[in-house]
């Protein structure tokens, strides 16, 4: 049944006024369930915007604690949160921003063992992780469970993102069948990241989640959006769903989840 309190009507009025959102769309948002894996650079803006938008249930997964080096870009965490778990810190901000939102926290690292159970409760997943093994794990688990998700990655001044609707559009493995070899991954020392780039990309991911919930417009499927903030160049590269994809193709070879060995990093994140 539709029911909005006067306060909710006012809080979400700028959504409701939109022809493409309206009462129905806002209701879908309020009934929606989105899981954000990683509340770091990408997850911070996504969590804040989705909470602000009134997404009914938001899950946040992170095994880490807030570190001083995070604060340059992970805007949901404040200096006073140092050494708190990231889930606790994010939970507090989201609840303070919008008490209507139900926030589930998972203070853990997703693994082949636990991920399917966790994502099963949600309508949409946002990948805000910072390493390839996790990105492949999320892709594989979401495809197996049939849950759409937004992939995102950032490095230095650039970012890339794509949305996957399992069964309908290309998955991450359709373009990148295997994780890169260990030595090909830039180490944290070489990497570095301009803080705002994380905000730009995480916000795009949040927009995809909202669009998915309200079923309006078209998603960033079968395409990889990349941008370079130094030149402010945005590019969309077409992708296609491959029949020989080892995961979602006609004769899949990946039939169950496995944890992939993590690339080693000497510096702390």
């Amino acid at each position: 049944m539709i029911s909005f309190t006067d306060q909710q009507l006012e809080r979400y009025s700028r959504h409701i006024i939109l022809n493409n959102v309206g009462i129905e769309g806002q209701l879908k948002i309020m009934q929606g369930k989105v899981l954000i894996i990683g509340v770091g650079g990408l997850g911070s803006p996504a969590a804040l915007y989705l909470a602000a938008a009134g997404v009914g249930t938001i899950g946040i997964v992170d095994a880490d604690k807030v570190d001083l080096s995070n604060l340059q870009r992970q805007i949901i965490h404040f200096t006073s949160d140092l050494h708190k778990t990231k889930t606790q810190s994010a939970f507090e901000k989201m609840k303070a921003l919008n008490p209507d939102v139900h926030v589930n926290t998972y203070h853990l690292r997703v693994t082949a063992e636990n991920i399917r159970e966790i994502i099963r409760d949600y309508d949409f997943v946002i990948d805000g992780t910072d390493n390839f093994p996790a990105k492949f794990l999320i892709n594989d688990a979401c495809v197996m469970e049939g849950i759409p998700f937004s992939h995102g990655g950032i490095l230095r001044f650039s970012g890339q993102t794509m949305t996957v609707v399992p069964g309908e559009s290309a998955c991450y493995r359709c373009s990148f069948p295997e994780p890169p070899p260990k030595n090909a991954v830039p180490t944290c020392a070489e990497a570095g990241i301009l803080g705002v780039v994380a905000g730009m990309l995480g916000t795009i991911q949040a927009a995809e989640a909202l669009k998915y919930l309200i079923k309006q417009g078209s998603l960033l499927t079968n395409a990889l959006l990349t941008f370079d903030a130094l030149k402010m160049d945005f590019r969309k590269v077409a992708l296609r769903k491959r029949a020989d994809c080892p995961l979602c193709g006609e004769n899949p070879t990946i039939l169950r989840l496995e944890d992939i060995e993590q690339a080693v990093c000497e510096l702390k994140r």
Binding site: S3, E10, D121
Partner: protein, 788 residues
């Protein structure tokens, strides 16, 4: 582990049902025949045609975690995303389509569950105290009896063809928290001379004519439970009224026969059963103890919320070191995902851990203290009420008029409004943890208002021909008393609009004095009931429709409150309330007629009798007239022209309508005859609101809209947004339109200036049609037709 043994005949019965459904789909079996077989299987058709609800039997509210998970998965596959916990401690799967029914029943059977007897004239789910086996101070665990009696009865074919439903319950102590004393048959544990046994009540029940259970046996040894139950069942089967389902329950048989005759016939059946040397029940124990090993790390939970939660929802068990938790489930609605998450978690603690409570909540038992933190975390994933005061988690409310055919008021929305009011009020609700506040949408007691400390049931109020939603207030139920149960009694009534304010005021008042009384009952007896009356007094009379329309909208409703068009198919209690109200006034007026001397007064009384006679049954045709003349016109059209009432009464109606009331005294007898004719017609009315004399006449519902003379397009909904600034006036208008059906008309009142310049334009941009906008004094009225 399976909780109960299912008879071997069930698979065959399922095959039979499948066969019938197949025939129905091919068109070789009619709907009524299918229904006769479907309902006793616990399969009900929902409001929406072609969708069904399956009710799963859970004696004593027991289900294993594995079974609960399976039920959730079955619902996810064949039904809705939400399960529903009932006040009889069962669980229901909703929105199953015809093809899904048999797969659902088969899948349930695979995990040891059955829906047989969930509905219809059968032995319904047998209840037991939710805390049986673990409660401090209980007499003994009654769970084994509820389960064993279930196993026995579901294997007996006469359990499915009784005159009406038959409800049984077991309580583990005098507290009677399974409400044994208000069931058709209730057993309350007791020990005599060191031997376990029961005090037995019979013929209790709620609904429109409630009766508390009557004492049948002061004490029976536990070995005779089956004999007693069997004897009462046979008695009911033999003598119950099969002709009229409204007077078929066991309590009506008790009333018809009287105590003496009833007991006499019962004793005959009891002796008969005893003679047959039937096997006593085979009891099996349900163990409550800690496991040797837990595959779970205790969660380190130290928040203040956790401590508060423990106070509110955690109870220690009689087994040292173990705890039981109540998990409040709002309205008994449990999401499929939540059910799976919860069931997976509950597995850690064993098989015998879950009970559904009559408050439509879940309880989880046998939890060692160190795992309470884990439970708390899981509970927060399962329910939004985890951090709410117990009073709010423990409230029972029926589905109400938003989904129930019979409902008058939208009880669920009333609860939402009440919850908000109480939460905002700052009243310390934890002080009322032992209080029960229940709400039913009508006089059928699905919301168990009769069992409440403070209960409400929906009724129709009427002011100047206009109906408004209201509630009767009942107070002071006493369950678990030596002298038998007592239902809450009506003391007052209140408009739906003022219900939240009333409760907040009442609780605030009671809260201040609470410590000076030893119980709520003693408060009621010493001025509490008077306080209810005086608060209600202040909320009367309600404003006129033109003064404040809010009173004429129910909570959560987007249309003006009306019973018109409701209750087709099944009797709506609300319709009867209205009819009875007019009827009793007619009777009263007739009495007065003989007592007054002046002709002028007599004319006035006769006019009123004619008016009420004409109005009384209009509601059955879906009509609510708004003036005297409309009443007369509608009556002439729908009753006289439709040949339900003799055409000779046309002249009485004409005379009354002409304004020359004085002339009525000359045709006094005709006016009185009209009243009699209408009353007789009313008594001939059946459950579908059809009259005996009714010929090929159709309800005239379609005719109504087009033929009603001189009526321009009437708005379905009127909203006053004067004083609401941009863009909130537009936002609210959008909300209203979203609730309406296409082509329905909305009237909004808007201020002059930017509201009238912007809102109609924005509405039109979204494709709705602006029928007209009219300036009335300083403001505007805009008529909008919702887009197709």
């Amino acid at each position: 582990m399976n909780v109960y043994q299912i008879p071997e005949t069930l698979p065959k019965e399922i095959d039979h049902l499948e066969n019938l459904i197949g025939k129905f789909q091919q068109g070789t079996l009619n709907e009524t025949e299918l229904k006769a077989n479907r309902v006793p299987f616990g399969v009900y058709e929902q409001r929406q045609k072609g969708t069904y609800m399956v009710r799963v039997r859970c004696p004593g509210g027991i289900i294993t975690p594995q079974q609960l998970k399976a039920v959730a998965e079955i619902s996810g596959k064949f039904g809705s995303r939400n399960l529903h916990i009932t006040t009889r401690q069962e669980i229901q799967i909703h929105d199953v389509d015809l093809n899904g029914i048999v797969p659902v029943i088969r899948s349930l059977y695979d995990v040891g569950l059955s829906s047989r007897g969930g509905g219809g004239n059968t032995i319904r789910n047998i209840m037991a105290s939710w805390d049986s086996g673990i409660a401090h101070g209980e007499i003994f665990d009654v769970t084994p009896y509820a389960v064993a009696l279930t196993e026995r009865f579901i294997a007996e074919s006469d359990s499915w063809t009784l005159p009406r439903k038959f409800k049984i319950s077991f309580s583990n102590s005098k507290q009677d928290n399974a409400f044994a004393a208000v069931n058709d048959l209730g057993f309350i544990a007791e020990i005599r001379g060191g031997k376990p046994g029961f005090r037995v009540y019979v013929a209790g029940g709620m609904g429109r004519s409630p009766q508390v259970g009557q004492l049948l046996h002061d004490f029976i040894p536990d070995g005779e439970v089956y004999l007693v139950a069997r004897a009462v069942k046979v008695l009911f089967d033999k003598y119950g009224n099969r002709k009229n389902r409204h007077t078929a329950r066991l309590r009506f048989l008790w009333q018809k026969l009287g105590r003496e005759k009833f007991i006499q016939l019962y004793q005959k059946e009891f002796a008969e059963a005893k003679n047959r040397k039937l096997q006593p029940l085979k009891l099996k124990e349900f163990e409550n103890r800690a496991r040797e090993h837990y595959d779970l790390r205790p969660a380190d939970e130290k928040t203040p919320e956790f401590e508060l939660w423990k106070k509110r929802y955690v109870r220690s068990q009689k087994q040292p070191g173990l705890y039981a938790v109540i998990i409040p489930i709002q309205l008994g609605i449990l999401g499929v995902n939540e059910a799976i998450v919860f069931a997976e978690f509950a597995k850690h603690f064993g098989d015998n851990v879950i009970r559904f409570t009559p408050q439509q909540n879940i309880s989880l038992r046998n939890i060692p203290e160190e795992y309470l933190g884990n439970v708390y975390r899981n509970v927060r994933r399962v329910t939004h009420l985890a951090d709410q005061p117990f009073l709010l988690g423990n409230t029972i409310v029926c589905a109400g008029a938003s989904t129930c055919q019979l409902g008058i008021c939208r009880s669920r929305d009333a609860l939402t409004a009440l919850t908000k009011k109480l939460t905002d009020s700052g009243i310390d609700l934890d002080a009322f943890a032992d209080m029960k506040v229940n709400i039913s949408g009508c006089s059928n007691a699905c919301g168990q208002h009769f069992l409440a400390d403070l209960g409400f049931y929906g009724k129709v109020g009427r002011k100047n021909h206009i109906s408004y939603p209201a509630y009767n207030i009942v107070v002071g139920a006493e369950i678990g008393k030596e002298e038998g149960a007592r239902f809450a009694e009506k003391v007052e009534e209140i408009s739906a609009r003022n219900l939240p304010e009333f409760v907040a005021e009442f609780l605030a008042g009671y809260g201040e004095k609470k410590d000076s009384y030893d119980s709520f009952t003693s408060f009621l007896q010493n001025g509490g009931a008077e306080e209810v009356r005086s608060i209600c007094q202040r909320y009367r009379p309600i404003p006129d429709f033109d003064e404040d329309k809010n009173y004429y909208f129910d909570w959560g409703a987007r249309e003006v409150f009306s019973l018109a068009g409701r209750g087709q198919g099944e009797c709506s209690a609300g319709l009867f309330d209205l009819i009875e109200m007019d009827l009793s006034e007619i009777t009263e007026l007739k009495k007065q007629l003989g007592e007054v001397a002046e002709e002028e007064n007599r004319a006035e009384i006769l006019y009123r009798i004619t008016l009420l006679s004409s109005r009384m049954l209009l509601i059955t045709r879906g009509i609510e007239a708004s003036s005297d003349d409309e009443v007369f016109d509608a009556f002439a059209r729908h009753f006289i022209q439709a040949k339900l009432i003799d055409s000779r009464f046309g002249s009485v109606i004409e005379t009354a309508k002409s304004g020359k009331r004085a002339r009525l005294t000359a045709i006094r007898q005709e006016a009185l005859d009209l009243a009699e004719a209408v009353e007789a017609l009313y008594h001939s009315m059946d459950d579908s609101l059809r009259f005996n004399t009714e010929i090929e006449e159709e309800k005239g519902e379609q005719g109504d809209e087009t033929t009603a003379a001189g009526q321009e397009e009437k708005p379905h909904l009127i909203r006053d947004y004067r004083g609401v600034s941009c863009p909130m006036n537009f936002v609210k208008t959008k909300l209203d339109l979203s609730m309406m059906r296409k082509d329905q008309i909305l009237e909004v009142l808007l201020d002059d200036g930017s509201p009238i310049e912007n809102v109609p334009r924005s509405v039109a941009n979204e494709g709705h049609e602006i029928l007209r906008q009219k300036k009335i004094g300083q403001y505007w009225s805009v008529l909008i037709r919702k887009k197709a």
